[in-house]
């Protein structure tokens, strides 16, 4: 065997092994599996098209063949890029997780928190601390951020005296998004809208629920405003912490390309602004001028879409996106807004 042939076969082996090894690794990671599968299907289509073109262009001059194959490669690269960007957006927006440690700790603290489970959704409720067991009280229905799960959030609230206003005179309920915690299903934009209605049904199905205050943070603001805009939901108060005007704002804050037809590449486009005009309950928006994930301009844009007569916009300074719940200005504003 010649040196050249040996080199060529070794290169072929390298490529084949890279493809198999990295392919297997990608398929073993659940969050990337869909993207890898979509790429595999795209490449299978490219193979079919390339084969078809080889047959169709048989006998044609290279002046025709070269541009056609170049165009095929360019289109294929663009198609694969679109698949990657779309799926990358999904993994950027949603971070489903089940915190087993927090779950077990909460299960042992039976008197402080109660597990809720209905209709494939699961979450936790902290009964009001200063209200007699069966007396009607207000409920805070919490819509969390993309990295939050009910067990960890509820445990953090119970372990932090500064946050006791969230369950002092009212119940605090946090139901996990689909695929988060023990909730079933797959999280998506439409699943979040459906989730909002189902979480509300769980809250009002409790015998002690007198009224519902919706409190949302970050990603949760989309489904929260959607719920408040619905006629069937009777929301007494809406408190939005770091809200966004549209899901596209989250993407454009990373890379400012999701405009016009490119907006279709964003997997989470939640048009919160379109629900805002139907919200009739009092609204409080708390946003930070230094929020690096959701720019304050997006929160202001949402504010301008809401009915100004019963809407209050509070700006806090020097607070990063993940630091709201440890910031004194924010907690004071929340106490006032929620009435704790």
């Amino acid at each position: 065997m010649t040196f050249g042939k040996r080199l060529k076969l070794s290169l072929l082996a390298g490529c084949l092994c890279t493809l198999l090894g990295s392919g297997l690794l990608l398929f073993l990671i659940p969050s990337i599996r869909t993207t890898a599968l979509a790429i595999l299907i795209t490449c299978a289509v490219v193979f079919g098209l390339a084969l078809l073109l080889v047959f169709l262009l048989e006998g044609k001059s290279s002046k025709i063949r070269v541009p056609v194959f170049t165009a095929l490669v360019v289109v294929a690269v663009l198609a694969v890029s679109c698949v990657i960007i779309y799926n990358f957006g999904n993994s950027m927006v949603y971070h489903p997780a089940f915190d087993e440690e927090a779950y077990e700790e909460l299960t042992e603290m039976k008197s402080s928190a109660v597990e809720l489970s209905a209709d494939g959704l699961s979450g936790w409720r902290i009964p009001a601390a200063s209200v007699v067991d069966d007396k009607p009280r207000s409920v805070i229905l919490y819509f969390g951020g993309n990295g939050e799960n009910s067990a960890r959030k509820v445990l953090n609230i119970l372990n932090n005296d500064e946050l006791s206003f969230l369950y002092d005179r009212c119940d605090f309920i946090f139901i996990d998004y689909p695929s988060y915690g023990l909730s079933e299903g797959t999280v998506s934009e439409s699943a979040l809208r459906d989730y909002a209605l189902r979480a509300y049904d769980i809250a009002v199905s409790l015998d002690t629920t007198a009224s519902v205050t919706v409190f949302s943070y970050s990603l949760g603001n989309g489904p929260a405003v959607y719920l408040a805009s619905r006629e069937e939901a009777d929301i007494s108060n809406l408190v939005l912490l770091a809200p966004y005007n549209s899901g596209l704002d989250l993407f454009n804050n990373y890379v400012d390309i999701f405009h016009g037809p490119f907006a279709l590449l964003a997997s989470y486009r939640m048009p919160v602004y379109s629900y805002a005009s139907d919200v009739t309950c009092p609204v409080t928006i708390i946003a930070s001028a230094d929020d690096e994930i959701i720019p304050i301009e997006s929160s202001r844009a949402l504010f301008s879409e809401l009915s100004q007569s019963n809407c209050n916009f509070i700006t806090v300074e020097g607070v990063l996106h993940n630091d709201f719940m440890s910031d004194e200005q924010t907690l004071n504003s929340l106490r006032t807004a929620i009435g704790g």
């Binding site: 076969l9 070794s10 092994c17 084969l51 080889v54 294929a76």
Partner: protein, 87 residues
């Protein structure tokens, strides 16, 4: 243009597999938390290339290169699975 079926299939496969390979590499770099994990495909490539090339000098393997390529492919799958268990 050569007209045999094998040539046509090879040409179509080269285009599709190249794009697949590039996509997987970019996916790795995008989703990896560290550069070391992002470079795993490069390490797999180098490992397979060196292994096949060296085996090419062994008298028996010299005439059975497809055997060493298959061995490298199996080893790369095993390596990927072990890496998955480690990270």
């Amino acid at each position: 243009m050569r007209t045999d079926l094998r040539y046509k299939l090879t040409l179509a496969a080269i285009i599709a597999v190249s794009i697949l390979l590039l996509s997987f590499l970019s996916l790795f770099l995008m989703f990896s938390s560290t550069l070391l994990i992002g470079l795993i495909p490069v390490f797999i490539f180098l490992g397979a290339f060196i292994l096949t090339f060296i085996l090419g000098f062994v008298p028996f393997m010299k005439d059975h290169m497809w055997l060493s390529i298959s061995a490298a492919a199996l080893l790369s799958l095993l390596a990927a699975y072990i890496i998955h268990l480690l990270i």
